[in-house]
Each structure stands twice: as C-alpha cells, then as structure tokens.
Amino acid sequence: MTSFAENSFGEDEKSSSGILLAEGQLDTRHGPILYLENVSVSFDGFKALNELSLYIDAGELRCLIGPNGAGKTTLMDVITGKTRPDTGSVFFGQTIDLLKMDEPAIAQAGICRKFQKPSVFDALTVFENLELALKADKRTWPTLFNRLNGEQRDRINQIIETIGLGAHHQLRAGILSHGQKQWLEIGMLLMQEPKVMLVDEPIAGMTHQEIERTAELLLSLQGQHSIVVVEHDMEFVRSIASKVTVLHEGSVLTEGTMDEVQNDPRVIQVYLGG
Amino acid sequence: MKANSIKGYCRLAAFLMLLFSLASYGDQEVSTQQPLLDALNNLKQGSMSEREQAITQLAGIGQSSLGILQALLDGKLFTLKSDAKLVIGIDNNQGYDISDAVSGTALGAIERADVNKINLTNKLRVSLRKIIGELELSADDPLIRLAAVKAMGNEDDDAVLALLQARAGVEKDATVLKAINVVFLLKEMNSSDKAVRIKAIEALKEQNNLDVVNRLNVMVEKDEGGNYLETDVEVRNIAKAALIKINSRLQLYSTIETVFFGLSLGAVLVLAAIGLAITFGVMGVINMAHGELMMLGAYTTYVMQQLMPNHLGVSVLLSIPAAFMISALVGIAIERGIIRFLYGRPLETLLATFGVSLILQQSVRSIFSPLNRSVATPEWMSGSWQINDFLSLTWNRFYILVFCLMVFVLLLQILKRTRLGLEVRAVAQNRNMARAMGIPTAKVDALTFGLGSGIAGVAGVALSQITNVGPNLGQAYIVDSFMVVVFGGVGNLWGTLVAGFVLGIANKFLEPFAGAVLAKILVLVFIILFIQKRPRGLFPQKGRAADS
C-alpha cells in the first residue's frame, strides 16, 4: 500500500514538466510563486472562470475581492486541485505543474487552504487537529507508528498560543466558537509550514477584537508565506492588503492598491450595479 | 397402441361424416339422437377408456355434437349428482348456470357441490382438439378454420389430407387457403418425384413456418448410417440454401425477441426502482421497506380480485389506484412515524426501515398466511401476440412495458408541472432555503415519501401479474432496485429509466451464453466496475450541490 503511495507520488513529480528540482523545492527566481494563465472552468454551461490569468509573488499578501459568483472559490479549487480547469495552465513556481497533481500532492508541495466555512475535525481535540496538520510523513504506515517528538510538541503548543487557543487545547474542536474554529483552521495551515496559504473569508463571524487579531496574525505571516485572502469585508481588506485583485465574472477586472481599486469606475459599476 | 387405432378409426369416421355433412346438411338431427345418447352414456362412465370411446362416437355424429365436445374440452360439462343428467354449466361464482347438454334447455343455477365435472387427461384433450378442429374446418369464422387447419397440419395421414383437400375446394378465405396449401406443400416434400420436392421447397422457403424449418432440417440431416436422409444432392443443396435464407430471418426475429425480453425485464426493474428513485434519490432516505410496499400493492390486487371475482380485468385496473392509495398511506405513516425523526441521518433510516420491513412481512404472514396468494390474470393480459411462427410477444409483458412507461411519464409530469413537484425539487435542492421561503417542508416530505411509496404499490400490481404474491415478494426485488437507482445516478429519474432498461437488456443478451446465474453475476460486476468509472452513476447530479 505504502509503496503505491510512493509510486504515485513519484509519478506526480516526474510528470511535472521539464527539469525538476528535488522534492518540495521550487523555483521562484522570477518572482511569482503562483502562475495562473488563461484558466477557464465551466459547470454545465456556466463559466465560473473565464480566461483568468493571475500571478502571486513569493511572500506577498494578496487580497481577492469580488461580488458573489465572481469565481473566487472556484479559483481556489483550481489551485488546490479540487477542480480541473477546462483550459489554461497553473504553475507553482517555474517548474511544478499543479494540473498534474492531486490535492494531497499539492498540499504536500506547500499550498494549503482554509475553507470558507471552517472545516475542523469536531471529534478531535484542538491539539489533535493540529497534530494531524503537522508537516510530517503522511503515508499510512509511518502515520500508524508516528510518535510526536519533543520539538514537534513544542511547535504545536507554540501554534496553539499563536492562535490564542492555549486555554482550550484539550477541548474537542466541535465545541469551539465559530471564530475559534476559524483560528484553529488557520493554525492547521501554519502547522503544514506552507509556502502559499489560501485563506477563504477568515473573519466571517468574528468579533471586532478577533478581527483585529486575525489581521495582525496575517500581517505577521507575510514575508515567510505567500498569502491569498478572499474577503468581503472591505475594512479588513484595507487593513491588511498592500495589493488587491478584483475578480468579476470569472476573470480579473483590475489589480492595485485598495485606493486605486476603489476609485476604479468599473469596480464601482460592478459593486453598485451602476 | 389401442389409442392409435382408435384415433385412426375416429378420424376415418369423422372424415366420412364430414364429407357427408359437407355434401349436404341432411336430417342428421333425428338420425343421430340415438348414437348421441349412447355416446353420452359412455361419457358419464368413470374410466378414461370409456370417455375416449365416447368422444370418438361423438366425433362420428359430427357438427351437432360440436357444442358438447367444446364444453367437454373447456371443462364445462358436468353430471348432476341427483339424476346423473349430463349438463353444460357456466360458472357464476356461487355455482353454475346449467343447461341440458342434449336439448340445450336452461335448467337454472345450481350449487358447485351438486355436480361432478367430467375430467379429461391430456391424451383425451389432444384427440378432442383434433376432432373439434376437423369439425370446425367448416366453421363460419375463418380464424377458427385457420386454427383448425394449423391444428391438423402436423398430422400426416390421408384422412386429414382428404379433409383438407375437400375444404380447399370450397374455401373462400385466402389465408386459410394459404395455410392449407402449406400443408400440402409440406407433404409434397416427401414426394418421390424430385422436381415436385424442389418446387415445394422453392414455394415454402418464403414461409415463416416452423414445420417447414423442421422438414428442411430433416432433409439435410444424416441418419445413423451416416448417409443423408435426402438422397438427392441437388435437392439437398436447394434445401440448404432455403434453410440459410430462413435461418437468417429466424436470427433476426430471435434478436427482436431478446430485445423485447430485455425491455420487459427492464420495465419490471424500472417499476420496482422508480419509487425508490424518489424516496432514496430525492429525499435521501434509504428505504429498506420499499420492497414490502410493493408487496402491499400486490396483496391489494389479490384482495380486489376477491372482492370482484367475476370482473378480473376491472379488478386489476381498479387495483392500480387502490394499491397506490394503500401503499402511499402506509408510506406516509412510516414517514410521519419514524423517518422524520431521522433526517440528516440517512443510515439510521436504513436500520429503522429495515425493522419496518420485518414487521410488514410478518403482518402479511399473520393476516394472509405465509402461503402465496393466487392472483388470476385477466384474459386480455394472458396469452401472446403471435406475429408469426417465429415471433410472438407475451401480452402481460407487453402491457407491463407500456404501463411502466406511462407511470414514468406521469411521474415526470407531476415533478415538472405540479406545485408539489416544484416544492419537492426545491426541498431536495436545499431544505433550509426552501423552509425559509415558506415551503412546508414537513408536509412536502410526507407527500414525497407517500408518492414514492404509492408508486411502489403500483409496481406491486404489475408484479402480481408475473410472479408470486407472497410475503417474500419484497425481498426479491429490493437489492435489484437499489442497484438500478444507483447505476442510473441517484436523484435522476431518467437515469433510473435508462439504467433499468440497460441492465434488463444486458441481462437478456448474456443469458443465452452465460446462463441465468452467471448473467446476473456479470451484470453485478459490470455495475461495480461502472461505478468506478462514474462514481455518481449514469446521470450524475452536477454543480456545487452534488459535492457536499
């Protein structure tokens, strides 16, 4: 069974095009860490993404905004391998072709995702949730005999502190508040030491303080990780984003700082419907 | 031995009699009175040999005894226990309306217990049928004449030929003439004259007639000695050629037949599954009691027939709404009583409904006894539609196929056109949103489940016409139903329809090679592999809804 896992994983690597560096290592010498070019996706007739092209630079914190149905979530699905685009190419760095990989492979390559509605494992404790996320050999047998060593333990506890759940680390995730779940999930992302974090509506259902702390958290992360945040709350976006991309009807409408974007007539047109 | 000699004798008698009667309808009535009475006396005697004799005597009498012979064949001939009088009885479900066998004067109604039926054995039936055939050769209805000719066709003895010869002389109806002609041609194939044989073959090879095929097959066969039964090589080759021609037609017809078989099997599967497609597909309830709801439908048919024993056809038709109502009500009861507490826990519904199915089964056992119940098939549903000698489609299957399509279309309309349908689809799509929009989801659930169950009941009516009506009826179909729904794609009625027919036809095309059991296995394996290719069945639900 395990051997199969290795093979299939190996295949993903080999098949990804051109000269390939050692596992996980990716080539961002040209700046961007994510390349999406002319990506189109359609669900029986309805074009969710339409010839969309987007570049995320290494270490940047990018915000995606746009009205409902603009294709934000679909975009994330494409990047994380949940949805296969009809056309277009998606590259991770120069070399790694994400379209040739499946979700686990992509995740292990270092692209992690937080879902719109917080999805944590209710049956498990906060600690266990993070433990599962921990970057480690994730094949079956190693997992079976896996024992946490000291530093991993520390790492988990440290993250628990970062996401402010220190008091609750033995509680089952199921009984956490909505906001706490959001954080836990962010924490799970961090556990995986990702290169790219895709964060879908992180502050939904959060109190003011919580929102501020989330903002701080995200800001503190930029630099070490490339982060893509999808959010409706303009205030929040303004508070964190240096660069904003507006999606509309499945393609990029405009890009720029919050102010540029907000003064762009097309954007106003889109949001206020003229 | 004895039997044969008697047959021969009777045919001769009949033949003479008939020539006579054909020639001129004389004053036989008087002259036949006496032999008729003798014959009837013989008939009353217990033993079969005497009956056989009596029949031949009756045959001798000719036309006038036709009525009695027919009654005898139909088992309508009785003797009164009181005075051993021979009577013809027409069943009126209390007893019989009887009339004197000889004079035909009506004698009123009578209890079942007061009469003895005059039984027959196959042997007697055979000779009886032939004799009647011979007598009917001059019947007024050309169809009857045709049947008569066909019945006599296989007999190769001169008496019959002579009869047919005589008939051919006076026959007006073209088809009957043709039939007679075929008989003669068949005989000519035995002629010693090679030219005649060839002519016969040439003439016959266009006929779709099994006797022809058999005769030709004999021609090209070898006997034990290894030399051909048909000595002449030229004739043999012509025969071979003719056989090839006919066999190709035969092939075509048998393919058509298989397709029909497949469709009708598919129809049954669809009927069984379509109700499930609603409760399971639309509502996500794994209803293990579905089979038992069908069973209820079947039992309803049985009860209806008990209520109106002498209007079979009507009772079956009335059973359809009745079964729908009953199963629907039971279904709603189940939904209200149990399932509504289990929404969002589809697997629990499986367990609960399994319990229900056990209860329903056992209740039926206690109420109707564990024995199968006999559900009669109305005339218009029994027998088959004889297209030609090679191809005939059984009526009941045919009707069920039609019925299945009707049910399907109706259901589709209900879901498309009606308010209920709209609400059902809405709830299926997004329960909470629907509730938010003020759709009474509880009511809709109940009605949906009722609808699905009702259709199961209707399916039961159909099943009662082709299989057992017993406590196990449900179990026999539940697994298959689930297969069909899943194969077609959950929540998609068209899927269910196509899936049913595909599986049915596949099964029927496999059966000849693989045998019934293996065919079923192969179909199952096919389903398993197919689901690997398309994890959501033939017609998967698309879009975001499907993912969650």
Partner: protein, 363 residues
C-alpha cells in the same frame, strides 16, 4: 459519536472483564464441573456463546470501517463468509476417506456430481497453516482490489454502500453455482476433525469458545490501540471531513484502503472461528440481508465505540435465540420493533444509553 467521553474507558474495561469471564470461566465450568452442578454450562451454551463471540468479532471489524472511517459497508458479510469457506475447505480436506463414498481426495459433493479431480483452488487446504493464511489473505486481497478501485475513484456514500452490496450479492450467486466447486447451496458441512481432534467433542467446543474469546479480546485491544494512533485520528478525521484531510496532504484513499483491508481480514478470522462451531458454511452467509444485519448489530450497540459493536452483536443474536424459541410465530414483530425504537430513540445505541447513565451517576 463521542470518542473521549465520560465512562468511556470504564465501559470498555467492563466489556473486557465480561469477555474474559466468558472466555475462561464458561469452558472451565463446562469441562471441569459435573453435569448436575448448578454452575455447569451445557455444550449448547458453549457453542452458542462461541457463535456470539465470532459475531462480536465481525461486528467489531465493521465498526472499524463504519464507525470510525464512515464507510457504510453493506457487504461486510462477504469477508466473513470467505474466511469461513477457507476454514471449511480445510475441514473438508480433513474428512479424508471418511466421506460417505470413502474417496480419499474428493469431498462427497464432488463425488456424486462426479468431478474427477480436485480443482486447483482446493490444493493446499489440507495444511492447516495454509488454510489460516488463506483465512486472512483471501478476504484481504478481495478487500484490497475492491477498495483500491473504489476509493481511488472516490466512490463514496450510498454509491459505495450499494456496490459493496453488489459485491456480496455477486459472490452469493457465484458460490451458489455448483460449477464453482464449493458445494453449491449446501455449502461445506459434515466436518469430522480439527487438527486431529473430533470436532464434536466437548473439549474442542470449549477450546473453540476460548479461542474465539481470546481472539476477540486481542482484536478489541488492537483496534482500540489502532483508533488511538495518529492513523486512527486521521481515519476519524476522514469520516468527518474527508476533503479537509485531503487538503492536509493525506492520501485519503490509502487510509481508507488500509482500514478496509484490515477489517476484512478481521472478518475473515471471525468467519474461520465461526464455521467449526456451527458445523456448516454455505452461500447464504453471503446474502445481502446478513451483511445488513451486521450493520444493525453495530448500530444497536452504538457505532464508533468498538465495544458497542460487541455488545450489539451479542445482544441482537441473544434476543434472536430467545425470541425464536419463546415466540416463534411473532418474534419478527418484536425484533423489527426493537430496531425501529433503538434507531429513533437511541441514536448512539445502547452504549449511548449506558454512557448517559454513568454521567448521571457522576453528577
């Protein structure tokens, strides 16, 4: 579906103790004590309990798949039956020349359907070790192939349930065919010896009961260890949030497959222990309804707790035994009613009830 709940471990220990009692005390009472002593247990009781324990093991294995991994397998009985057949074939070969036709090689059913030589797949079954190997291997391999196909192409939910049902149904029909050489509808029966001991002797029965008990306890402990490893947590996570687990970088199908195969092997062992105790194995064990019943045991006991499965299996079968004797005419009513009531009123099964009681006692 609480994994860590009040009284969880206590109940588990209790179950273990009860099992231990059954496993060691009953056979002792059966063998050592004289028949007239009040504490003597008849051979009937012994074979009955033995059967229950194998069912419990079967339930346990299903709970692993369904309760923890969330795969509702409606064909789990197939693995049980396959294990049973493997053992049955060994027992058949042990008959040797003592068959009614005295054929040294062929089992009776082959003789009177005049088979000439032993089909290849019967070879090797005269060795006990080989049979044991097959007991785990055959179900294991089948589960692997089936699971590998199904999980990789992400067949989930009812689709998976139904094709597992299709699997067992197909096997039912296949083993039913006499051409298969597994004794057709009659299956394998009339066993004589197990490892040279008369299979009908009290001692062997007692030993079988003990074996079943020990196996069950070991399996129980292994499973408990398993679900508390990281793998166990991943599996539970898969049950609740499959796609999330995938996005964490786990190959979900591999974990499912692992559990599925492991459970199948357990089921196979259960079957192997079951056959010598009931003295017959035939295709009806493959019937979809049987597999459904297993699900019911687990649900009754309470899924996702392991010991719940054990309790459920024993209780359902015990009540079956009693009811079919006490009220043969109407026992189905009561059984059906029980299913309905339990599912509607006790979503967490009997264990759930038990646990609530314990909690009350605490507060």
């Amino acid at each position: 579906m609480k994994l860590t709940g009040l009284g969880h471990d206590k109940t588990a220990t209790m179950v273990l103790v009860a099992l231990a009692a059954v496993t060691f005390i009953i056979p002792f009472c059966n063998l050592a004590l004289p028949a007239d002593s009040p504490m003597h247990f008849s051979a009937y009781t012994v074979s009955l309990l033995g059967k229950y324990l194998t069912f419990a093991l079967l339930g346990l294995s299903l709970d692993l798949v369904w309760g923890y991994c969330g795969i509702l397998a409606l064909g789990h009985g197939a693995f049980f039956a396959l294990g049973g057949y493997a053992m049955g074939m060994y027992l058949m070969r042990q008959i040797g020349t003592r068959g009614v036709y005295g054929d040294p090689l062929l089992p009776d059913f082959m003789v009177f359907l005049n088979w000439k030589e032993l089909p290849w797949y019967w070879l090797g079954f005269d060795h006990f070790w080989f049979a044991l190997l097959m007991v785990v291997l055959v179900p294991g391999v089948l589960a692997f192939v089936f699971g590998w196909l199904a999980f990789r192409s992400r067949v989930t939910g009812v689709y998976l349930s139904i094709i597992t049902q299709a699997l067992t149904y197909a096997l039912l029909l296949a083993f039913f065919r006499n051409e298969m050489g597994f004794g057709g509808n009659n299956g394998l029966t009339d066993f004589k010896e197990l490892l040279g001991f008369n299979i009908q002797s009290e001692a062997v029965r007692a030993m079988l009961l003990m074996m079943s008990g020990i196996t069950l306890m070991t399996a129980f402990l292994v499973c408990r260890w398993l679900v508390n490893t990281k793998l166990g947590r991943v599996v539970t996570a898969i049950r609740d949030q499959e796609s999330r687990v995938r996005f964490l970088g786990y190959r979900v199908e591999m974990f499912k497959l692992w559990i599925f195969v492991f459970a199948a092997m357990l089921a196979g062992v259960a079957g192997a222990l079951y056959v010598p105790q009931v003295g017959i194995i035939n295709p009806s064990e493959f019937s979809p309804l049987n597999s459904l019943e297993i699900v019911i045991w687990v649900a009754m006991g309470g899924r996702g707790t392991l010991y719940g499965a054990i309790i459920g299996a024993v209780l359902v079968n015990y009540s079956k035994t009693v009811l079919t004797g006490l009220m043969p005419e109407i026992w189905l009513f009561s059984l059906g009613a029980v299913f309905v009531i339990v599912t509607v009123l006790l979503p967490d099964g009997i264990v759930g009830l038990l646990r609530r009681r314990l909690q009350e006692q605490h507060s």
